[in-house]
Subunit: 378 residues, 2 copies
């Protein structure tokens, strides 16, 4: 099943190349290469490249050392192996481009992924080749998730939710943000997350929660603290990304208040997200709730980002993204209000656009959770 | 102290630019940017760029959202902020390049790091600019570690060694490779590793150890298994990278034998590593021991790689790297013998070239360690 999936994706993009004016697309290691081939390579000092030509099997340039990766592929591929001597690599690129029928015309590439390293080899091997971004072409495909992708994202959400639930009862005054984050990582891996987490969890206590990009540090949990946790798992390379907030004891009343407004903004975003509207409309709906509550200046980032094979991908839920939402798109909705020196609240869900609206993949309560102070020791 | 360090590094490269025929060097997020500025940015869809010009303060192009990062820098910098509207970014690049005095001439960049994304903005903003690799220039500097870098690497080694020691006694038959790897990660973080580990540990049991690039899976530990663990920590972004092997009960005699040969090859490598010899000489010394033992065909990778701000960096300890070793260089020595279907042994140390030889930063015994079978339950 999943074998045919990669071949089908290759055939789909082949069918779209002509209309886009491209002879082929060239991908270096990363989520795009994996999406079309099922293969994974590290992004290293070596120039691995997958070329999807207008017709014929895909061409793959890879180190001899990793030749086992193409031994039993369930689709045809034309591999070109290079050894450890970089002096021979331009020749390998020449042979591979020739095999793919690429000597002139336009080759599509992904500017935010392809490096000057690979570009230089391509230019040396085929000086008449022109290059153009294939970002839109590929995101159009990747934005719409199929059933197997959604199943993986659902599992990534389940792993993340179970991991968090597993550590909440052990959160106690005196622990540092770093300790809690390390324990959460251990749980994520134990629950079955891929080793490569989509990102290291943010665990921030008290005033630190007012920094949306905080790194877990030595701040110790105290009674009266707001606790913000932003974490995710990966399952077969598909990501989840969730944020929830908790209180240890009684919070400053303004923090309770902003937690309600943020939950309301999150709901407004999920209600606005449906097929046919632009991504920016979701951002607007969310921002309106927070502005009307009087906290517009304290919501300092965009509403969300696409989620899937990458922790950040298209579409971006910002005022500048006019992508029309379609069934199968998945992204985060994560409004926040950050009060410098006091604390911040963010409530982040992963949603899927359905035929007539949106469905949240994340199911944990969006209310401010209450943590128990340390009176339950055995 | 460490403040002046970044300024000093900027001044050092400024002094070298003229001789290299470069007007400036441009760096995107990653270890090079951090080395010269102490700053860290995620590599994302936004084009962050640090420009080190021939004279005058450095120029930094960054998102408005991250402006706090340059608030209290201990050296002068000329920041150019962009907002969330990509339509305005070429203009920002133009202003920044103008401020850096860059309209023509050669701009140095790092091909294996800089993306087509940043290159396109540079080309649009200054069409007459030419580009050239500054890889050698920058690795010449980065290869020679100073005292503060060595202190961080030493700490990364200490964290990794303590973390491994902490889990060894709990390794028991019936556990999976994945479980052991997850526990090791938890220990690495608890011992004080940076959240961003240099790589996810390889834990491989029995026949799986014959694959040098194995990922931890569901293979269960059994009596008679060889256990290979390849792991590392990061401390303030400096890496360690170690491999050791263990036996649970009695191994096939050939595995005991290759463990001795690999340890001997490791020693030969450390003895060959000294100032004035090329990196390739270390590879040759290691390979000779294994070839003479009759296992040349089963040592299928290079002897090692540079280690520091990156888990793989210059120099590469391979037959193709003629870099002359100098005091202050740090790299791995990691011979291996891999017997398909049966098992593999690799013994990896992190070494520092000194004035008259080399010193291993890693101190764990290189002998095949004996694990206790599960007869010690309480």
């Amino acid at each position: 099943m999943s074998e045919n999936q990669h071949l089908k994706r290759q055939q789909r993009i082949q069918a779209l190349l002509g209309k886009a004016g491209l002879q082929a697309v060239a991908l270096n290691p990363g989520p795009d290469l994996t999406y079309f081939s099922g293969l994974e390579f590290h992004l290293m000092e070596r120039p691995v490249l997958l070329i999807l030509p207008g017709d014929g099997p895909s061409v793959l340039i890879l180190p001899e050392l990793e030749s086992a990766k193409v031994d039993d592929l369930p689709y045809p591929i034309r591999p070109f192996f290079f050894n450890e001597d970089p002096g021979t690599w331009v020749g390998i690129f020449q042979a591979a481009l020739q095999e793919a029928g690429l000597s002139s015309g336009k080759l599509g590439l992904i500017p935010r992924r392809l490096r000057v390293l690979e570009l230089n080899y391509l230019q040396s091997a085929a000086p008449d080749l022109e290059f153009e971004s294939a970002q839109d072409l590929i995101s159009q495909m990747r934005m719409i998730k199929d059933g197997s992708e959604l199943a993986k994202m659902g599992e990534a959400v389940r792993i993340a939710e179970c991991a968090l639930t597993g550590i909440l009862s052990s959160l106690k005054p005196g622990q540092t943000e770093k300790e809690v984050a390390a324990r959460l990582v251990g749980r994520l891996l134990a629950q079955g997350s891929d080793p490569a987490l989509p990102f290291f969890p943010i665990v921030s206590f008290g005033e630190n929660s007012a920094n949306p990009h905080a790194s877990p540090g030595e701040r110790v949990l105290k009674e009266g603290d707001l606790v913000l946790i932003d974490w995710g798992a990966a399952y077969q390379r598909y990501c989840s990304d969730i944020t929830r907030v908790f209180a240890l004891g009684d919070l400053h009343p303004e923090l309770d208040k902003i937690a309600l407004f943020v939950a309301e903004a999150n709901t407004a975003g999920r209600e606005a997200a449906k097929p046919g509207v632009p991504a920016s409309a979701v951002d607007r709906a969310v921002r309106q709730v927070i502005s009307e509550a009087g906290y517009g200046d304290y919501f300092t980032h965009r509403t969300g980002h696409g989620l899937g094979g990458e922790a950040h991908e298209e579409p971006y839920i910002s005022e500048f993204d006019q992508t029309i939402l379609k069934p199968g798109m998945t992204f985060t909705i994560e409004p926040g209000i950050y009060l410098p020196g006091r604390g911040g609240v963010r409530i982040e869900d992963d949603v899927l656009i359905t035929e007539d609206g949106c469905r949240s993949l994340t199911e944990l309560s969006r209310e401010l959770g209450q943590l128990l102070p340390d009176d339950s020791m055995i």
